[in-house]
């Protein structure tokens, strides 16, 4: 790979370090009584924002209180990202297109699993409601959208990536683009995108 491509791939890997200090996702609830909005942030390792307030409001529809300790993800995700960074650094060190390609696929998998898990929790909270709830609207469930916004009774729920999430997407796009352009370049030189196995690494 070209040195410039290696540097960009390294940037993509190291950017993931920001996920430890920036929230990944943001859920905002707005209602006539809450023009300023009620916000919950989801991080790699924790929840923050007005979580208790949201739980308090949710008790009227019989939703379970949202409690950080109920999510094993917060223990796993920091290690998952650490693993992703480690493999990314290894790929950059190996300086092989296949290694970078493998890492991009791994990254995509992590994102897909993350979003699927987020959807599963949203479904769980939005559908498993206490039958003794004060407010019951037939046919109504309260799953927040995966991404986008949705009207839930008097609240509009907005679900969007926050700074950390945007960094992750940007890092993924950067990694994928670097891999893609390196492949195109290899093809132009009539080389396979994925290096063949018997090829001995050039000792330069």
């Amino acid at each position: 790979m070209r040195p410039s491509a290696r540097v960009l791939a390294l940037v993509s890997v190291l950017a993931l370090g920001l996920l430890y200090v920036l929230p990944l996702w943001r859920i905002t609830l707005k209602a006539p009584q809450y023009p300023e909005g009620v916000v919950m942030y989801i991080w790699l390792h924790k929840l923050s924002g007005q979580v208790d307030l949201i739980s308090g409001l949710n008790h009227y529809i019989g939703m379970r209180p949202i409690r950080q300790e109920d999510f094993p993800e917060f223990l796993i995700m920091p290690w998952l990202i650490a693993g992703l960074m480690a493999t990314g650094l290894a790929a950059v060190a190996l300086n092989k297109r296949w290694a970078l390609g493998l890492w991009v696929v791994l990254f995509a998998l992590v994102i897909a699993i993350g979003l699927a898990d987020f959807y599963r929790w949203g479904y769980e909270y939005g559908h498993n409601l206490d039958p003794r709830a004060p407010i019951k609207v037939p046919g109504m469930s309260y799953q927040p959208p995966l991404i986008g916004h949705k009207q839930l009774l008097n609240f509009t729920a907005y679900s969007y990536p926050d700074a950390g999430g945007l960094v992750a997407f940007a890092a993924f796009l950067l990694g994928a683009t670097v891999f893609g352009t390196e492949c195109v370049r290899a093809r132009r030189q009539s080389l396979p995108c994925i290096e063949r196995r018997p090829q001995v690494p050039s000792v330069a």
Binding site: E36, Q50, D52, L53, G56, L57, H59, Y60, P134, I135
Partner: protein, 655 residues
């Protein structure tokens, strides 16, 4: 309305002047009517959802409170309970707030609040605290402008009628409190007719902690037994001095309207408080025994405590040369106001035909050259001509108070002729006048008594409203008026009703306060000894015949909401903690038959309602502040059994 009484001696002028018009001008002139300007409606209209430009803090006079308004709309936002109990939220009824109203005379549920004063930094309102005086039983209160709640009240001993109070020095080093009534110091049983020998005035200097705002009575100055009426501190070049008006230099003790109106000139007392600090540091004070209360509300404990002090440091002018001077001032002066530059000291001689303006620099020169008329009890009286900067001639009748616009003009209220007169500093010429409805006392320009006025609006605070509003029986609405002072001519914009007598006010740009306004009390910082931090801690404990209910209020229930095992003769303390941490979510609490006020508990706060059930039965309690869609479900029951019952103490929610 103390000021009303003050003006009785000159009220004869009103019919006399009216008679003059009738007799000599032939025919009855219609009343002067200042019609609101054409664009007045749009000038005071604040569209729904938008904010006012200024906060106005208007004292309630005999209501004992301070009210918060928006300007220019004149909309009422809040009553801040200060010296009077407030059953609406439990102020003065709960064990947490009762200590605030303790005095050396016992618990007092009322006072007469006259002068709000914003704290200042470098002579400019800084929006941290608001001080206000209790006139009847001399006290000074401090309101925290983060919470808009009273957090401290200090009593001033050796004082009566704390009227010249609580004006601040340039950096809020001190708030002053001077006695309107002279009294025996220390108090003792003497004939009233011995006034001349036994009665004294005091000028009190209360030190303010620059960080916490905490007040402490630093010292008092013992002065001749006149009536000390109003005050303002110097600023800029006159920083370090404080000025007090003194009337009744005749030292009358009866029929003051006549006997205290005999001399052509009374005084403004100029106090060099920096000199006073030196004398205190040198130990040139006398410590005299007395008794006064100092009550402080702890915003984390949500509770006030009282402390009693038994000594005060007193400076005697004859022992402390250079401490205080008298400036002769015509006639029975009321207000004393220092212009933004700090050079001019304007007096409102309520029986005077001029507005005298003293010069601070001339005063210093006169002191240096010892231009004294006489010396009274060690206090030199300076020569009038040696200190006078100028006089505003024929301003109006009954000049009282002056505020400034920061553009070189002064505005003086005139009670008897019921008008605001605008005049120019330095030339003393009158440039405009506008009637008010009717008989105004104080006026207020936001920042108008500071170094940097926001010279856009003037609020006139009237003592009489008569025909201005729909009548409501003999007791009529009280009112203020908003006047536009942004142009050359003053323009009447708005009448707006006030609660209590709108005595004096302070105004400040809204953005200075808004950003600091607290939304909720952080629950994790709640150190109330009976607070609970979560519903799991809710419980009931019995200690003899005292029962303590540690109750949680959270949408939309109380925990516990069923309590049994209470007995007739118990004293039941409902310590209710509002567990919400959401903006604008108070809960209220009351119980049937409680012989006290309800409590309104702000998010994160704990308050206590004390209930002494007298008959067996089941007593409902409920939330009084509409908190949520299921507010009407936020209720519970307390069962009271006869004394000695075998019904065990039990409690719960949702079982």
């Amino acid at each position: 309305m103390a000021a009303w009484r003050v003006f009785r001696p000159v009220m004869w002028l009103v019919p006399t002047i009216a008679g003059f018009f009738v007799l000599f001008l032939g025919g009855c002139p219609g009343p002067r009517q200042a019609v609101a300007t054409d664009d007045a409606a749009s000038r005071v209209y604040v569209p729904p959802g938008q904010y006012d430009e200024f906060y106005a803090f208007i004292s309630g006079g005999f209501s004992g409170q301070v009210t918060v308004y928006g300007l220019p709309s004149g909309r009422l936002f809040k009553i801040i309970p200060v010296f009077s109990v407030h059953p609406e939220n439990g102020y003065g009824y709960t064990p947490e707030t009762q200590p605030l109203l303790m005095t050396s005379h016992g618990f007092i549920p009322w006072d007469d609040s006259h002068h709000p004063e914003l704290s200042q930094t470098d002579g400019i309102p800084d929006g941290r605290w608001l001080f206000v005086n209790g006139t009847n039983t001399p006290r000074v209160a401090r309101v925290d402008l983060r919470t808009f709640e009273t957090v401290e009240i200090i009593e001033t001993p050796n004082s009566a009628g704390n009227h010249a109070s609580p004006f601040v020095t340039q950096n809020t080093e001190y708030v002053v409190a001077a006695t309107r009534f002279s009294v025996p110091v220390p108090q003792k049983d003497v004939p009233i007719a011995s006034y001349q020998q036994n009665f004294k005035g005091t000028l009190s200097f209360i030190k303010v902690d620059p960080k916490t705002g905490r007040m402490e009575l630093a010292f008092q100055i013992l002065v001749p037994g006149y009536n000390y009426d109003l005050s303002h501190a110097g600023k800029g070049p006159s920083h370090g001095w404080a000025f007090f008006t003194a009337y009744n230099t005749e030292r009358a003790h009866t029929l003051l309207e006549v006997n205290a109106s005999q001399r052509d000139k009374d005084f403004i007392a100029a106090v060099n408080w920096k000199k006073a600090e030196e004398y205190i540091a040198q130990g040139k004070y006398r410590e005299i025994p007395t008794e006064y209360y100092h009550n402080v509300y702890d915003e984390r404990k949500h509770m006030a405590t009282s402390r009693v002090y038994t000594k005060v440091k007193v400076l005697i002018p004859s022992e402390c040369p250079g401490l205080i001077y008298y400036l002769p001032t015509p006639k029975s002066p009321h207000g004393v106001d220092v212009d933004p530059s700090g050079e001019y000291i304007v007096a409102g001689g309520k029986l005077a035909t001029v507005i005298p303006v003293h010069s601070f620099s001339k005063m210093l020169k006169a002191i240096e050259n010892r231009e004294f008329d006489t010396i009274i009890d060690g206090i030199p009286v300076l020569k009038y001509d040696a200190v006078l900067a100028g006089e505003v001639k024929n301003p109006g009748l009954g000049p009282l108070h002056t505020e400034f616009d920061g553009k070189g003009y002064a505005y003086t209220s005139h009670f008897v002729s019921s008008e605001v007169v605008k005049w120019k500093l330095g030339t003393w010429e009158i440039v405009d006048r506008i009637p008010t409805y009717y008989s105004l006392g104080h006026i207020m320009i936001p920042g108008g008594d500071s170094r940097k006025p926001w010279g856009k609006y003037l609020v006139a605070m009237n003592k009489i409203t008569k025909d201005r509003y729909l009548p409501t029986g003999p007791e009529l609405v009280q009112s203020a008026q908003l006047i536009d002072i942004s142009g050359d001519k003053m323009k009447l914009l708005l009448d707006f009703p006030t609660l209590g007598e709108p005595h004096y006010a302070q105004g400040i740009a809204a953005d200075i306060l808004m950003k600091n306004s607290l939304k909720v009390y952080p629950l994790e910082e709640n150190e109330h000894p009976h607070a609970i931090k979560s519903v799991e801690q809710a419980r009931v404990e019995r200690k003899g015949n005292e029962v303590h209910v540690y109750m949680a209020a959270v949408r939309s229930h109380f925990r516990p909401d069923n309590i049994e095992g209470l007995q007739v003769g118990d004293k039941v303390y409902f310590h209710v903690t509002n567990l919400e941490q959401d903006w604008d979510l108070p809960h209220g609490f009351t119980i049937m038959g409680a012989t006290t006020a309800e409590i309104l508990i702000m998010p994160g706060q704990t308050k206590t309602l004390v209930w002494e059930p007298k008959k067996p039965g089941v007593y409902p309690f409920y939330c009084t502040d509409f908190c949520s869609a299921l507010h009407q479900e936020m209720q519970g029951y307390a069962r009271v059994s006869p004394r000695g019952t075998n019904v065990p103490l039990s409690y719960g929610t949702g079982q």
